[in-house]
């Protein structure tokens, strides 16, 4: 297990290196400059400022300088937030993003499993049909539309939850719901299909023939076997949540990193773009690693001791 983990972590670092290298060069191809009042500056003035930030050097030199910084744990300072270290910018805003993202993911997957399982057990009844309708609705409605609807009805009209802002559990409810919808629907659809398959398989028939009770069959045999394929979609779902949170954070004025990422790209804030790319890639790698470990826990056939 330790050897496996070590190997995986090495690959994660390699992945991050490749991702950040590609991002660095792509980012430099973006049009524009990090200067906020470019319209009012003459080319000489622009050059003068570039020189101060080392932006007048060739791109490969800038890349080496950046890489050197990272090795020493220095992610540079933001252009947009003058002199603010990127590491502080991210660390002080990462919490809210992790909270709503994590809550959305957990709620979405758990609720999705329940909805999917119920749909499969009651296959081809009105229960199944309504579960399918819910799934299709939640897949087709983008999270930002749902966010606006939740904000207007539950926030402004019914006043059940705060409209926007950050400050305690109540503030996380609406963004969590908005983010949970899509994973819920995806998981439910996957779970239903898998479980319908499993429920008609031979070993379930055997268990039934042995006279086991229905709850036991579903809990011990059907659920566990249906879960394995569902775990595979957790990685893509995590990506889904990350991209969704960029807009949802904006709508609910959550001081997170998603909104910052979008803005850093729009303002050519190079160090912040790089820092956030690395953070997002690292988060995704960790989610994938956890998924692989969870595989082994659910399915003893997949041993990860090699």
């Amino acid at each position: 297990m330790a050897k496996y983990l070590g190997k995986r972590i090495f690959y994660i670092i390699l992945t991050l290196f490749i991702v950040s290298t590609i991002t660095f060069f792509l980012m430099k191809l973006m049009p524009g400059t990090p200067l906020t009042n470019q319209a009012k500056l003459t080319p000489t003035q622009i050059h003068q400022i570039y020189k101060q930030y080392g932006l007048d050097k060739p791109v490969w030199q800038q890349y080496l300088v950046y890489l050197g910084g990272i090795i020493h744990g220095n992610f540079g300072t933001s252009f947009q937030f003058s002199n603010q270290p990127v590491s502080y910018l991210i660390s002080s805003r990462l919490g809210p993003s992790l909270i709503i993202g994590g809550q959305g993911m957990v709620l979405g997957v758990l609720a999705g499993l329940v909805v999917g399982a119920v749909g499969a057990i009651k296959a081809n009844t009105w229960v199944d049909t309504s579960a399918t309708i819910i799934s299709i609705l939640f897949i087709s409605i983008p999270s930002f539309v749902l966010a606006v609807l939740l904000q207007y009805y539950l926030g402004l009209k019914l006043r059940l939850f705060p409209i926007a802002d950050w400050g305690g559990f109540m503030y996380t409810v609406l963004p969590t719901l908005a983010l949970a919808a899509s994973p819920l629907a995806e998981t439910a659809r996957f779970m239903r299909t898998e479980m319908v398959d499993v429920l008609s398989s031979d070993y379930i028939e055997l268990a039934k023939a042995k006279g086991l009770n229905k709850v036991g069959i579903i809990y011990h045999h059907a659920l566990r076997n249906s879960l394995i394929p569902v775990v595979t979609i957790i990685g893509p779902l995590a990506v889904n949540i990350m991209t969704g949170s960029m807009v949802v954070e904006n709508i609910f004025s959550i001081p997170g990193i998603g909104e910052q990422f979008v803005k850093s790209i729009l303002t050519n804030d190079y160090p912040t773009i790089m820092g956030l790319t690395i953070v997002y890639s690292a988060m995704l790698c960790v989610v994938l690693l956890i998924t692989d470990i969870v595989y082994g826990l659910i399915d003893p056939r997949i041993r990860i001791n090699k």
């Binding site: 049009p31 500056l41 002199n83 002080s92 709508i251």
Partner: protein, 538 residues
């Protein structure tokens, strides 16, 4: 969940009740002196040498004060300087400073201004606003690294006399010193925090009406709290101005409607939908959106009749009311209305040329045919370049639809990211381009300077000798004669409009909702846009 939230609601109701009861027993008339203000963007920095965005400048104008303070009706109030005198040649400005304090109790002296200005101009600081100091002696040389910052044309004579030497007379210098770039800086604070100076509320010192609280450098909420050490603290009635950065306009509107905000800006359709709201207000901005003609690249655009025809073909009223929908207003010329006044006369009104901003399709067609005959062309095919934000896209499409009504003129639109657009415009890689200019200080020269032949921001390279001569005269022989200078500029604007060097499309305005109980917030057409020093809740 439901029980939980109900319990919470009950708790809130109880607390609110207690607070209200507390208010009632204290004083039944005066309301809590607190405003909740919406801003579209978080604070980027509080370092006035590094500041480039309007929203940080607004906060800085609340927490700090320069030599003079921007006042309503295109005037200035005394600030840290009690009074000032200018030498006869207009080159030396002497400011007499009052005995005022930083919020930590130490005195604000002339040295703090010298320090701050030298720091901004120093190339090491890499300030994007250093150019605004260009008219101070040696500023350019220092900024280019050819001279030490200590050689800047400013000096402290004792602690309370500050003397500035200019390169050429600049009557609007009084407006410039109200801006954040010209604020004093506390050298001890800068030295203490080094590169992290002014990156959070605690790492800065303040000498303005308010002190900044609750800003950690990256968050979306902060508060301006009354500064007890401000020299004019007596006149500050408001206790707290609470800021909330809200990036989604509909969220801001929902928060306003729920009573959480006392002010919110509106844009596009949200503005149109709220025009009948009793809280609806429009604050005109000193900003003009206009179309530039590339006279260098397209020979036909050197013909004034063609340029005039294109301007006359655009219905600006319809553009403002039906297309832009926000707080924008129809233009009076290149220099925005209600920005600069002389002897009580508004510049835009005085220099108004009807044909320059009018709509008259019939006349446009005649002029266009005439112009085309003069240049010997049957048809003209042009690309209209613009940024790719929603507003500019709508503007582009509208201008396109209007211009194609001229027989023989074909327009295609091209909308690209703002920064690429700026680069292409500066390099004359366009036929027609939609541009906007926002004033740094409320003087007509801030706009008119752009259109001189050698100005790098004159993207279309329109050139008129008489115009150049008038602008030069206003900066030299007439620089110390306010009326003569003003008349030169009026003349210049008239030439620009008669020749249609550019075609103004609309003057920008900020539509907003402001609670009627909030009084005394002073809006300005230029930065800092709002001042809360005299605000109160009634």
């Amino acid at each position: 969940m439901k029980i939980n939230s109900l319990a919470k609601l009950g708790g809130v109701a109880l607390v609110t009740g207690l607070i209200l009861a507390g208010c009632g027993s204290k004083s039944s008339q005066s309301k809590k002196q607190e405003i909740s203000w919406m801003t579209p963007s978080p604070i980027a920095t509080m370092d006035t040498s590094k500041m480039t965005d309007l929203y940080s400048a607004q906060v800085a104008n609340g927490t700090n004060e320069g030599l003079l303070r921007m006042a309503k009706n295109n005037k200035v109030d005394p600030g840290v300087a009690k009074s000032y005198t200018t030498s006869k040649d207009g080159l030396t400005w002497t400011f007499n400073l009052r005995h005022s304090k930083w919020n930590d109790g130490t005195p604000v002296t002339a040295k703090d201004f010298v320090y701050s200005w030298q720091r901004t101009v120093s190339p090491k600081t890499a300030s994007q606003y250093a150019y605004i100091f260009a008219n101070i002696k040696n500023a350019d040389k220092i900024n280019n690294g050819k001279m030490s910052p200590s050689k800047l044309g400013v000096k402290a004579e004792g602690n309370y006399k500050f003397v500035v030497s200019l390169v050429k007379p600049q009557s609007y210098f009084k407006f410039m010193v109200t801006q954040p770039e010209f604020f004093p800086q506390n050298s001890k604070t800068v030295a203490k925090y080094g590169s992290s100076y002014a990156t959070s509320a605690a790492k800065d010192t303040y000498n303005g009406p308010f002190v900044l609280k609750g800003w950690n450098g990256t968050n979306d909420t902060w508060t301006l709290t009354k500064n007890k050490n401000y020299w004019n603290a007596k006149s500050v009635k408001i206790k707290d101005v609470k800021f909330q950065a809200v990036k989604t306009p509909s969220t801001a509107l929902n928060s306003y409607n729920s009573g959480k905000l006392d002010f919110t800006t509106l844009s596009g359709t949200l503005a149109a939908n709220n025009k009948k709201n009793k809280d609806y207000v429009v604050f005109p901005e000193a900003s003009t959106s206009y179309m530039e003609f590339n006279t260098k690249k397209i020979p036909a655009l050197r013909n004034a009749n063609i340029r005039k025809a294109m301007s006359l073909a655009i219905d600006k009223k319809q553009m403002v009311n039906k297309v832009m929908q926000g707080g924008d207003i129809t233009p009076k010329g290149f220099v925005p209305a209600d920005m600069a006044k002389h002897n009580g006369q508004d510049f835009a009104k005085q220099s108004y040329v009807k044909a320059g901003t009018d709509y008259n399709l019939a006349e446009a067609k005649t002029l266009f045919a005439k112009g085309m005959k003069q240049v010997g062309k049957k048809s003209l095919s042009l690309t209209l370049l613009g940024a790719d934000d929603d507003d500019t896209k709508r503007a582009s499409e509208f201008v396109q639809s209007q211009l194609t009504k001229l027989p023989g003129l074909k327009i295609t639109t091209q909308n690209i990211p703002l920064k690429s657009k700026l680069t292409r415009a500066q390099n004359q890689q366009f036929d027609l381009v939609l541009s906007a200019w926002i004033a740094d200080y409320p003087d007509p020269s801030n706009f008119l300077d752009l259109m001189t032949s050698d100005n790098p921001q004159n993207d279309g390279k329109w050139s008129n000798k008489q115009y150049d001569a008038l602008i030069k005269k206003s900066e030299s022989t007439d620089a110390n004669n306010e009326t003569a200078r003003w008349n030169d500029m009026v003349q210049a604007e008239k030439i620009l409009m008669n020749q249609q060097g550019i075609a103004p499309l609309y003057q920008q305005g900020q539509a907003a909702l402001l609670k009627s109980s909030v009084k005394g917030v002073q809006p300005f057409p230029t930065s800092p846009q709002y001042d809360w020093a005299k605000a109160y809740v009634k």
